[in-house]
Assembly symmetry: D2
């Protein structure tokens, strides 16, 4: 049922230009790798990157985006406030948003959460096991008990986010930490999903189970019903007006 | 997308046999009326009633039910404990459950909630307005701001249920009360939705917006992903066994 | 147990200067009225207003504030971004925040929620009934089933906020609307409570039950445990380091 | 502030009678050990065990219990249904309940949750680290980032419980699993806390941080406000009756 979902994959795309290791893992960029597997699912994929005009996120691009995926790391500060507000507005109107890994510190995620979104971390290439704690959630569909990532960066608690509406995944790390790795939120009419893995120096987004989670999340985030709310000054119901005057 | 969803509509079906007014509103029973509009949506509908053998809820019937709808009122006590446990087991395995109106006091709802499920009530045929407080929820899809029911029984707070996972609707009553009218829960792999309206002496289930909510709820409750969890005694991961012995 | 709780009551304090009706209801300002009843509870009360230097919210004032109360309406835009960020930082560090009535549109509330916080409204002086839907919540302590406000401004759904962590109160309005009137959140180490009533032209904050809710909320918001989290780069546990090298 | 809280510590007390190792760790029973440290906090402690008349949980005992602690394991089936219903009734009326470790499979916990409460387990004496994921929660007060238990039984996800209202702790296990170890619920007017650790063959309840969590939980569970709800048939508000007749 993924046909017709219009996904924009946004990537900072800086590590890929300067770090040989990252370039070799993701020769077409992290956005390229993510876009590829979503396209194979029949989704209508566009990519956008930091160094494009308006970071590639023009009004027109966002207007025809059902779900936006966000990966950023070293250049969060370079994202213009105006574009962040534009993205927030679209989320509140119903666009889905999937925030990946170091995107926890992106301006858009912090703006939607209201917190620092800070956490602990360690990058020594340790094993991560991502456990499903909500097996009935559509984002966990087809994922078994757990996903094993041979080498990843560690993220540890306390993760300073609002209590997730639904906690879908919890990570275990070889070095002794845990992390709430799959968290859902609604903001306005938009659905938001944070998914932890994906450090740029590991081939995480090539791993089929990780791809499956992201595909599921896109489908979940695109499914918003979208009744447009009415705001502002209103009259009482007609029959009640009579009573209220009596 | 409703094709193929297998719905069983369960009804106590006693008022329809003894009360002329109810009979005139629902000549084929409340289950008949609900089954009719779900069938028109392309769903695969079965009905079951209290006075059938095993209340119509045999192992076979439940095994081929994706979503069970429950309406009961004056004969909750006649529902056999064995059947209630059978239904609970199927919910925990992933069958959806929609509990309507006076079903709040059914054995199956109380068993899944763990509380008394008690509330306040008044039946003088007053106006109810059901407000959407979660416009992005799939159960509210196509429902505007509110549904107006000209005459209904009143249910008032405090409603003794666990805090809903998602609160979709809140009712306003002419006589001065409010009520959490649309509440979602997950229990095991199953999704549960409680929907307030539907007193037997009013034509509530003939109203298109009410039918729309119930159809939406069936689709929502049928969508469980259904990863079967593993329980019991397990070994540590192989590579960790080595470390643990060292 | 309220002794020692340091409360700062912040008020825009503009209506009181220009509107005779408001001045007559709150001769010492809304902040004065709220400060008075909190002082009588034994709390250590300070007030602060928009037109003071730094809006009265200096670093020093916030550093010795356990709970901040916020009332604003027509001059939200005049609150400086720098002060809003200062308040947010203190909330995330553990300061409680009580946002009243039209404060739903304040910069600080929108920043902590991540949404528009928009709603419907009507000011014709209609009756409001505030129903307790979480009778076990400390904020509802001593409040019976409901509070009746003879005349108030109406606020109606959809209220564009994140799903509350706990929904304590729901309002009924004579003109036909409902509203989620008492909503709790945690943000970082801070607790946040939104409480609906208190339009400036009605004597709402003189009503004992309303005062009771606000006092309860201050006590609740002041009770944060306050374990200071550790963020940033960390080493693995010592005994695990050995395993990880093997 | 624990003075005056009346705690009843319930223990199955069978392992202590038959297993020398358990007897040597808890010579006065698990209930004795827990009762001791709660008494030192100034609480008013009673103990009760399975083999007493009415399992030690008479109407009188429960009527003067603010918080009940429950430890059971091998004899869940011997707990009489009548006593379970009595305990449930008291929880719904406002008594706090702390369920420990293998109590996840007790009749009372399953009855309040509505699910199987099943999980995975392994008992090879591996290290557990219990991480605080809600540092502002009163149950985590004074607990740092994590608690380390040198040797414990492992419990792993999926843990078949309703989504916790607040998730306070998550456990990491040496063998590769994670577990939602500290979960809060409200049922009726009662607060419920599930806390994972405490296998009978390890000295877990002698560890100060574990004692601190249990003491905190008792204080938290005892703090219910306790507005007694009104249920049943009610009249409309007097002023509204007039309108409704017009």
């Amino acid at each position: 049922m993924a046909n017709g979902i219009r996904v924009t994959v946004w990537n900072e795309n800086r590590h890929e230009k300067t770090n040989e290791k990252v370039k070799s893992i993701y020769p077409r960029g992290i956005h390229g790798a993510i876009g590829d597997f979503l396209s194979r699912e029949g989704m209508d994929v566009t990519t956008a990157t930091l160094d494009e005009a308006e970071h590639g996120l023009t009004e027109e691009v966002l207007a025809r985006t059902d779900v936006l995926i966000w990966w950023g790391h070293q250049a969060h500060d370079e994202v213009k406030e105006e574009i962040v507000e534009r993205v927030q507005k679209r989320v509140l109107e119903g666009m889905g948003l999937i925030v990946l890994h170091s995107g926890h510190f992106s301006k858009i995620f912090k703006k939607l959460m209201g917190t620092t979104c800070d956490l602990k971390w360690r990058d020594i290439g340790e094993t991560e096991r991502i456990w499903t704690v909500s097996p009935r959630h559509p984002i966990a569909e087809g994922i078994g008990e757990s996903i094993r990532l041979e080498k990843e960066e560690m993220y540890g608690e306390f993760f300073d986010i609002p209590e997730p509406e639904e906690l879908v995944f919890v990570s275990w790390f070889e070095g002794g930490e845990v992390f709430r790795s799959g968290c859902t939120y609604t903001r306005g009419l938009g659905k938001v999903f944070y998914f932890r893995p994906g450090h740029e120096t590991y081939p995480t987004y090539h791993q089929p189970e990780v791809q499956k989670v992201i595909s599921n999340a896109v489908r979940w985030a695109a499914s918003t019903a979208g009744n447009t709310p009415v705001f502002g000054n209103v009259e009482p119901a007609e029959n009640l007006q009579r009573n209220m005057k009596s």
